[in-house]
Amino acid sequence: MKVKYGRSEHEFDTEMTVRRLLEKLGVVPEGVVVAVNGELVTADTTIRVDDEVDIIRAVSGGSRNDGAAR
């Protein structure tokens, strides 16, 4: 499977769940959204070897001051 996470790309040749993939990459599930072949999936979804995975970072922000636009 081809996995895109930000500017980095990874390849794995065994199927695994989304949860296991995030563990392997050291990614905290709460901070990301995962799409497989363009569709959002839950952590228990099994990713097949020929799937394309996009791990989309959800965390944003800079200032800890209150009141600016998000």
């Binding site: 959002l40 839950t42 959800a58 965390v59 944003s60 800079g62 800890r64 001051n65 009141g67 636009a69």
Partner: protein, 333 residues
């Protein structure tokens, strides 16, 4: 995993709500939960004139969509801060801020709502990286500019309130940071609704304060709403992001931690408000906006820029409409 409502295949896992939803159910649930939050905190009356701060990021474009779907009349305000992809001052018409502004424009066009566009370079002759002048973190300068212009445009444009897309992660990370430094004044002011103070410090509301960042990201993606995925280059390594990552680790181990922390704070917030009552409201001698000092933070930061530009707000205009020189200052839908 199956949708809690209809038993179809779930696409959105919501640990803090102990459920998962399929795409159609999620797209129904998200605006309904926003409406519930607005009602719980008494944020908005149906006929309030709302100025929505739009950055082009997922939270603000999602909020604009949801407010429109719920029947609120919200106009947008976007500020081209002049930040390039290297974090420094961008060439005019290029860079991160220009692209962010374009996403705000695209949302305005899709929703057919007016958008105030302020180009900071034209307004005060400088970009945010140039205003920073090495004296403060660039995020701090950015916050001063945004808060000032949001309040000023809301006041001069005749709006009832300002809405921002702050989410639960933003609120919890800000609280966490200010608990670490025991900034009691900040803790006293932190709320889903900040009521208007005096005649010029406008009311602010945060209808997404109960959504995590994952939840707003899932909504924009499932709804096919375009937003800028790149983060502000100046936010790389920012303290807030490291707080958010720490808090996300906690949330992944114990779902609902963010919400418990936030609700717990809101219940105890009156404990911090004793100090706030002592603050005196005054006005900036140069621009007339609220300020505890002779000069407001914005005027102090901008320095020598001609004062006449502040009063006229000539570079503020509704998107696609004539400039403020030709029209009244308030945008018309």
């Amino acid at each position: 995993m199956r949708c809690k409502r209809c038993r179809e295949r779930a696409v959105a896992e919501l640990p803090q709500h102990r459920m998962a939803l399929c795409k159609p159910c999620y797209l129904e649930w998200f605006p309904a939960y926003t409406a519930k939050t607005i009602k719980k905190f008494g944020m908005l009356a149906p006929d309030e004139k709302i100025l929505l701060a739009v950055s082009g990021g997922k939270d603000s474009v999602a909020l604009w969509q949801v407010l429109a779907d719920l029947g609120y009349q919200a106009d947008g305000l976007v500020i081209d801060l002049g930040i390039g992809y290297n974090g420094k001052a961008a060439l005019e018409g290029y860079g991160y801020s220009t692209d962010s502004t374009d996403y705000a424009r695209r949302t305005a066009e899709r929703l057919k709502r007016p958008l105030w566009v302020i180009d900071l370079r034209r307004f005060v002759g400088k970009t945010v990286p140039e205003l920073q002048r090495g004296q403060r973190p660039v995020c701090s300068a950015c916050g001063v500019v945004k808060r000032y212009l949001m309040n000023r445009v809301a006041f001069e444009g005749g709006y009832d309130c300002i809405a921002t897309g702050h989410n639960l992660d933003d609120e919890v990370a800000a609280l966490f940071g200010n608990v670490l430094t025991w900034d009691v004044g900040f803790l006293a002011r932190k709320a889903p609704v900040s009521e208007q103070r005096g005649d010029r410090l406008m009311k602010k509301v945060k209808p997404f304060c109960y959504f995590t960042e994952r939840e707003t990201a899932m909504y924009t993606i499932l709804n096919g709403i375009p937003y800028i995925h790149d983060e502000c280059p100046n936010s790389v390594g920012a303290t807030t992001i490291s707080y958010k990552e720490l808090i996300n680790q906690l949330e992944s181990q114990a779902g609902g931690s963010k919400r418990r922390f936030y609700d717990g704070f809101l219940r105890r917030r009156p404990l911090f408000q004793i100090e706030e009552a002592e603050l005196q409201m005054a006005y900036c001698e140069r621009c007339g906006m609220p300020s505890p000092l002779e000069l407001c933070g914005f005027c102090r930061m901008v320095g020598d820029a001609p004062i006449t530009e502040y009063g006229a707000l000539e570079e503020v205009r509704p998107h696609g409409a004539p400039t403020a020189r030709d029209t009244a200052p308030s945008p018309s839908p």
